[in-house]
């Protein structure tokens, strides 16, 4: 066990994966000698050489196209997109290529080895081009797996599982936690399961569901609510798609109430999918409407970032609305 922040945990996972399998490669803009603008790939070029850890030219569609080809060849590429906000030039390669590679070839070819890492989310005074949470775009794309860790321990285990998953994975790292989230992380090689949500805390009155940095927010809201006597069950979805419906259904069958929270705008955010599914599967058990506490239907702002963000008090307000319904 070592104390690490989330960035160090990611770096450690990459190091572990590269040491264990020489087919693993890390690349992207500034990931070489510099170790990435956040330093997630620090020292990897020194340790594994320029052939396995390198800078690419500044072209996201090329990075992912290149990575798709490498994965098809049998390598295990871990491509970094410098900010999730800049993943869109690669949208075609991800949505039309990565996601459909196995299906369209009847499994003759696949890019299962591919992992795309990208720092994402707000809370760092980044404005609309350094704060976005684009998970819902990819969640509407069959063939893709989208994973988000909430702390360093999760980050290492989920990233190792993603790299080794037989399916391509987009791994969004909540950059607000990069240095802020610190915890014990096993030194050895370990994986945490994909496609499984985790019940972080059991409770009876209401289920609060989120992922990534937003977990902290719902935890804070839950703490406040508990003081008022509301018993909250907390779930970290962890894998956004394919998502763990069963765990959420079981929880809501018990609590009868659900709040889903994410930073991305409300309309078409992934909370809508969860609400749509749960209202259908738990219809007779729901005591109040499923609430979504999310970003506004606007681009991500700067000066008024705090106002935009779905902070703990907004979640608490929603808990009140839901409990008092």
């Amino acid at each position: 066990m070592s104390r690490m922040n989330l960035l160090q945990a990611v770096n450690n996972a990459l190091d572990t994966a590269m040491a264990a399998d020489e087919r693993v490669l890390c690349f992207g803009e500034d990931v070489g000698i510099f170790g990435g603008v956040f330093r997630a790939t620090s020292h990897l070029q020194e340790k594994y050489g320029r052939a396995r850890c390198f800078n690419t030219p500044l072209v996201e569609q090329g990075i992912i196209g290149f990575a798709n080809g490498l994965a098809a060849q049998g390598s295990v590429p871990v491509a970094e997109i410098q900010f999730a906000d800049y993943i869109y030039p690669a949208f075609d390669q991800l949505v039309n290529e990565t996601a459909k590679f196995r299906y369209r070839s009847g499994n003759l070819f696949d890019v299962g080895g591919l992992t795309v890492r990208a720092p994402y989310g707000g809370g760092i005074a980044g404005g609309h081009y350094h704060s976005q949470s684009p998970e819902a775009y990819f969640a509407h794309t069959p063939g893709l797996t989208v994973v988000v860790p909430r702390n360093p321990h999760q980050a290492k285990g989920l990233l190792l599982a993603s790299i080794r998953s037989p399916d391509p994975v987009i791994f969004f790292e909540p950059k607000r936690l990069y240095r802020a989230s610190v915890g014990e992380v096993p030194d050895e090689d370990y994986e945490l399961p994909l496609r499984q949500a985790e019940v972080i805390k059991e409770g009876n009155d209401i289920t609060l569901l989120a992922w990534g940095a937003q977990m902290e927010v719902i935890e804070q809201a839950a703490e406040m609510a508990e003081k008022e006597g509301v018993s909250c069950e907390l779930i970290d979805l962890r894998t956004i798609v394919p998502w763990d419906i069963e765990t959420v259904v079981q929880s809501v069958l018990k609590t009868g109430r659900l709040i889903v929270s994410h930073e991305a705008p409300l309309t078409g955010g992934f909370a809508s999918e969860i609400a749509a599914t749960i209202q259908s599967r738990c219809f007779l058990y729901l005591e109040s409407p499923i609430e979504r506490v999310t970003g506004l239907d606007t681009p991500f702002p700067l000066t008024l970032e705090k106002e935009y963000m779905p902070g703990p008090l907004k979640v608490l307000d929603a808990i009140h609305r839901t409990m008092d319904f």
């Binding site: 798709n68 080809g69 490498l70 290529e97 196995r102 696949d110």
Partner: protein, 402 residues
């Protein structure tokens, strides 16, 4: 030796250049009459390879004619011909090792024919029946073969070009001396992915050959509305990449150029761009009618440059081929294709299960549920689903067949 701004003397007047003075000649060896230019030197094509090439060219022509006809008869939903571009595609393929990777666009069935894709394999894909390895998921002509190192075709243009750079990077690391050939149209070369692919290949020095079939049109768009530069070959200079312009209807030149390109790629990790000057003799696809955007006269001029006839004359000249062989082979290929088609048409559609397999390595529970709901639905309304209902019981008995 690399030269750049630091080695060139500065100038003190503003002189602009647009590259007009750069001359990119066409490399050609075979004259239209089947004889070879005097200074071309002997071709490195030996008789078995030459015959293998010609057979593949003839096969491709026969296949294309027959399948277009089938489309016209309503037996096939869609088709695209390689007609006129067989030398560019097959000549380059023949210059490779058979284990080199090919990542093509959609008009390159000749490469598969050369590598030995069988008539049944063509037909099963075209008819999307239960023996198509891709389970009838893609439109006709989206072939793929793992055994023949031929990446399954994907419709979005140019996406395979940066993929080829990545694949070749992996080949370089693997160190087995293989390279990747990626083939695309001059229209596709306008996509951002083209720029990404060439730049990354030259920076990372990967063994990839970029072969552009400049056939004059992207559907209806003539090259003059596609780019203003001197074709595609000139773009290589921007990346300091080796490039060559080749008469794409000249089998000897295509073979020779690709052989040399492969040497540069594999021995020196130098990516190479080849621009094959050719012409799409047929319509863009079975859905297209070129009479709206190009002249009969232009088409006829290119018919005279038909790469098959040119190669045939050369073969006969060498005593490696004769008219009887031609007639016999053509007939037997026609029969083979027709028989293959008839059988493929009759084969049953893919199992319902293949609708949901291969989306993920392991089908997630929700998708499994969707499948079960669909199966139950079809069982309630079998008459509405003639392609799947009749086989539901067979298929559930052999669960996991897909």
């Amino acid at each position: 030796m690399k030269k750049n701004q630091t080695t060139v003397k500065p100038v003190h007047k503003p002189i602009f250049a647009n590259g007009d003075d750069i001359q990119i000649p066409v490399f050609t060896q075979l004259k239209p009459d089947g004889t070879v230019y005097a200074d071309a030197g002997p071709s490195s094509l030996d008789e078995p390879t030459a015959r293998r090439i010609y057979r593949a060219m003839l096969y491709t022509r026969v296949l294309d004619e027959r399948m277009l006809a089938a489309q016209r008869q309503g037996r096939l939903s869609f088709y695209m011909q390689c007609t006129g571009e067989e030398a560019a595609v097959i000549g380059s393929t023949a210059a490779l090792d058979d284990a080199d990777m090919i990542m093509a666009q959609y008009r390159e069935q000749g490469a598969l024919a050369y590598r030995g894709f069988t008539t049944d394999e063509f037909m099963d894909q075209l008819f999307g029946n239960e023996r198509d390895p891709a389970h009838g998921r893609q439109m006709p002509i989206h072939y793929g073969s793992r055994d023949l190192y031929y990446l399954t075709i994907s419709s979005p243009l140019a996406t395979q070009i940066p993929q080829a750079t990545g694949y070749a990077y992996g080949q370089k690391l693997a160190g087995k001396g293989n390279c990747t050939l990626t083939i695309f149209g001059e229209g596709a070369a306008s996509e951002g992915d083209f720029h990404a692919a060439l730049n990354m290949a030259s920076v990372h020095k990967v063994p990839v050959i970029f072969l552009c079939r400049n056939n004059g049109y992207a559907i209806s768009t003539p090259v003059a509305e596609q780019f203003a530069g001197d074709g595609i070959a000139a773009r290589a200079f921007g990346y300091r990449m080796q490039s060559i312009r080749v008469d794409g209807n000249d089998i000897l030149a295509m073979y020779e150029a690709t052989r040399e390109a492969r040497r540069l790629a594999v021995e020196q990790n130098e990516p190479v761009l080849i621009e094959a000057m050719t012409y799409r003799l047929a319509a863009h696809s079975s859905s297209d009618d070129p009479s709206g955007y190009r002249s009969k006269k232009e088409e006829e001029a290119w018919h005279k440059k038909d790469p098959l006839r040119r190669m045939q004359r050369w073969l006969i000249e060498h005593g490696w081929w004769n008219e009887d062989e031609e007639r016999e082979l053509t007939e037997s290929l026609r029969r083979e294709v027709l028989d293959g088609m008839k059988q493929a048409e009759k084969r049953r559609p893919p199992a319902l299960e293949t609708l949901v397999s291969d989306v993920y390595a392991e089908t997630p529970p929700l998708l499994r549920e969707q499948f079960e709901a669909l199966e139950a639905h079809i069982r309630r309304h079998p008459e509405t689903y003639p392609k799947s209902a009749p086989w539901l019981d067979d298929d559930s008995a052999t669960e996991g067949r897909a």
